[in-house]
């Protein structure tokens, strides 16, 4: 693998035994894993192309333990990589050979359910779906629903600002949080937010969310809960071209309709999904839209009719409306199984995650087809159409020499293309190690340095998850340096009054 990670600290590695012993004193019993065989499950996350054994795995159970582990590592200059369920698709939890892998899985309790205030207080190791399961008896749910919601944890969701198919209407993780408890690299415990809305000072919760484990370790999270809509219906619409499908999406939003979910699949993805789950998708179309509207029955019926009319005006070649909950779920089953379905037709696939201004979709798909030919690798597309978040799946075979490298280059070209047309490198999977070296395609040196200065405010020694997000590591002292030319900057000829 061509990925360059921070140079291992040989002095730390030389003290490994002493470090492990010290960690065992903080987290007793089986909470410290140092045997190579037992550390194996932690060597990679959802981005399995990259693997690295950590120096040691620590599984704390209390905030006090997290605090002591981090304080110890801060004092000793030891790097720390936090990890939730390890479902990151960008390598956010990739271990470091000289680093502690801090697994938060034992933080798996729901501490409080407060339905009067429509919130739940949970530990970071609780899975996304478990939050909804804990409150659905009362008709509530937690809105962000990443596809990995059975496995992924709330802590990881906070780190990555996870999205899902419903985030156009209901927001990403950052829009559904109220507070958290955060342990800084020094071991200091900070409480941010609570049961109330908005920050009284700087919005630290907002900056922690999506910081990919580089600013602190979250040990408790307060999430907002929503009442489940009365009903939901899905409309399945096929189009002879992606241009027509794109026009349909634009017209729906132009009509003031924000669907609960609006997904698009291209021909290869439709075929793979249909073969896998037999959802009844039309196979003679180039693009398929699943448009779900939710709310009170009167609203849903009203909007379904409007969506159907808009689809018709955009030359839809096939259209079906779910008539039962079972059928609605079947429509979704194909989309939700798109990744494993592609996994069946190809030995390996590489999932990308760019966002583009939706109007540029036909142009991006056309260019992607050209790239597909250049690289000799097939690509299937699933797309959160409402918000422009594109998930191209590049099909390759890791056993064929050079194919993974080709897939990675193809992926990088796609992401650069996203930026070129006014989009961004990642819509919901995070930068991690995967897109780290592409950051300069989107950000200038000054942009990246300002972000890294903010990291210094949280982690002055750069010990938390180094090697992720930023292509170049700078020391905080260097980043903080200023060159002020006293008396040498003439007052610019700006109008003064």
């Amino acid at each position: 693998m061509s990925l360059a990670m921070p140079a291992p600290d040989q002095a730390v590695l030389a003290r490994r035994e002493r470090i492990v012993a010290a960690l065992r004193a903080i987290v007793p019993g089986e909470g410290v894993i140092a045997a190579e065989r037992e550390m194996r499950p932690y060597e990679s996350d959802g981005l399995t192309a990259y693997r690295q054994l950590p120096m040691v795995v620590v599984l704390p159970e209390t905030t006090a333990q997290v605090s002591r582990v981090l304080a110890f590592c801060h004092g000793e200059g030891i790097k720390v990589v936090p990890r939730g369920a390890g479902t990151s698709l960008s390598g956010g939890a990739l271990p470091l050979t000289d680093g502690v892998l801090l697994g938060m899985a034992k933080f798996n309790r729901i501490r409080e359910i407060d339905l009067a205030n429509r919130l739940a207080v949970v530990e970071p190791g609780v899975t996304n779906l478990a939050v909804t399961e804990a409150v659905e008896h009362a008709g509530f749910y937690y809105a962000p629903d990443p596809s990995s919601q059975i496995a992924c944890t709330i802590g990881g969701n906070v780190a990555e600002n996870a999205g899902g198919v419903h985030c156009l209407k209901y927001g990403m993780t950052t829009n559904n949080l109220l507070g958290c408890e955060l342990v800084l690299m020094t071991g200091e415990v900070v409480r941010v937010g609570g049961k109330h809305l908005d920050a009284g000072g700087y919005d630290l919760l907002g900056i922690i969310t999506g910081s990919e484990g580089l600013l602190g370790v979250v040990t408790e999270i307060t999430v907002r809960l929503l009442k489940k809509p009365d009903c939901a219906r899905a409309v399945l619409v096929g189009f002879a071209s992606s241009e027509d499908a794109g026009e349909c999406v634009a017209k729906i939003i132009g009509a003031g309709i924000i669907p609960g979910g609006m997904e698009m699949m291209d021909r290869p993805a439709i075929h793979a999904a249909e073969q896998f789950v037999h959802a009844g998708y039309p196979l003679d179309v180039e693009a398929l839209l699943i448009i779900e509207v939710d709310g009170p029955r009167a609203e849903v019926d009203h909007l379904v009719a409007r969506v159907e009319a808009i689809a018709k005006s955009c030359r839809a070649s096939a259209s079906r409306v779910s008539t039962s909950e079972q059928e609605r779920l079947l429509f979704w089953a194909g989309r939700k199984a798109a990744f494993p379905a592609v996994g069946r037709i190809s030995p390996d696939y590489y999932c990308m995650d760019g966002t583009i201004p939706r109007a540029r979709l036909p142009q991006v798909l056309k260019r992607m087809r050209e790239l597909s030919e250049t690289y000799g690798l097939a690509v299937a597309n699933v797309f959160h159409a409402g918000d422009g978040n594109l998930h191209p799946l590049i099909l390759y075979d890791a056993n064929k020499p050079g194919e993974l490298e080709r897939a990675e280059k193809f992926g990088a070209d796609i992401l650069k293309l996203c930026v070129e047309v006014g989009g961004v490198l990642t819509g919901e999977h995070g930068v991690g190690v995967e897109k780290r070296d592409l950051m300069p395609a989107m950000f200038s040196e000054a942009d990246l340095k300002q972000q890294q200065r903010l990291k210094c405010a949280f982690d002055d020694k750069g010990l938390l998850n180094p090697g992720k997000v930023f292509p170049t590591l700078h020391r905080c002292a260097e980043l903080g340096r200023m060159h002020v030319h006293a008396g040498r900057v003439a007052f610019p000829d700006i109008p003064r009054f």
């Binding site: 950052t174 908005d198 900056i207 969310t209 809509p229 009170p296 009167a298 000054a446």
Partner: protein, 413 residues
Amino acid sequence: MADTVRPRDAKDVEAAVQWALAEGKTVEIVGHGSKRAIGRPAQTDVTLDLSTLTGVTLYEPEELVLSAKAGTPLAEIEALLAANGQQLAFEPMDYAGILGGVAGRGTIGGALAANVSGPRRIKAGAARDHFLGFSAVSGRGETFKSGGRVVKNVTGYDLCKLIAGSWGTLAATTEVTIKVLPRPETEHTLLILGLEPARAVEAMTFAMGSSCDVSGAAHLPAEVAGHIAADETAGRAVTALRLEGFSPSVAERTRTLEALMKPFGELATAEAPRSRAFWTAVRDVTPFAADRSNLSPRQDERPLWRVSTAPSRGAELAAMIAKGAPAQTFYDWAGGLIWVALGASDDAGAALVRHAVAATGGHATLIRAPAAVRAAIDVFAPQDGAVAALTKRVKESFDPKRVLNPGRMWAGV
């Protein structure tokens, strides 16, 4: 009086901050100055007036995005959106009423820097939730950007969140991109009359816990409700629940909500035009407006606090304050946002308010008070040791020489 600098473009802003750094000067950032009286009084050498940086630079209704220079009037953006059937879903409040300025002023940059929001906050989020990207000049005199112009983006730290609510203490934004959303087809407000605050919070909690998708929930005690003049409700407390959306949906939800609320008390309704006027008044805190000359020969200059707490604790918090001093209050955000007007005093009632907030959780900001009072006490929520230290480090990471709006939020920040 400090010198005022009016930059022509973003480059000028950078040059001005670099000059200030070189000369050891401090800079106050203003747009229209509509919120200038909030925070600790500025004692800066130069005023950087960004109201000259105007213009919508990108508006793609079907992509739900709009970019504008930071000094673009909010009113101009709202008019453009309205013409396209869209709106700023966070419902930015107009501070002119309570601070005594000219109505309808304020820039988009200012609205974001103050993280303003209105009654729809409980459903649609605050300004922070719609802030997608920006270009800015840091206190280091460096131009930088963050975010993007698409609605879904997790590339790098979400600096928009940090800039929102930083009151110009971190950077001077020069251009911003925001998420815009469809304007509801219609709205309808259900009123419950005569409830005590604690019971009103119960009613609002019940409504928010229903699937009626309530987009505004406010309670005005009798002595405050009169100021929003709703004829048949005169003299009684009003608890209001707003429903917005497509007509068939609003009609169905109105029926459902009426059935749910019936046990709480006598119901009344406000149809779209009256509903709109009502929520604008709640949004702009009209009951405590400075120029309420029809109700009082004197202008309302009482200290005014904005308190955010857990909705279920709202009535309790207000009661604690009222026990300590004559206070008028009303509730938005289903009980979670409480506006408190107190009698004038040396500390504007800070000790009392802060004590109550400490008991219930949340935070309080002193929105209106004489400059001398704002200079003497904490206007923003005081912070504990670790958070205060982190706040200072965050400030230093953007503005190490404390050039931009120094001390506006806290001394030393």
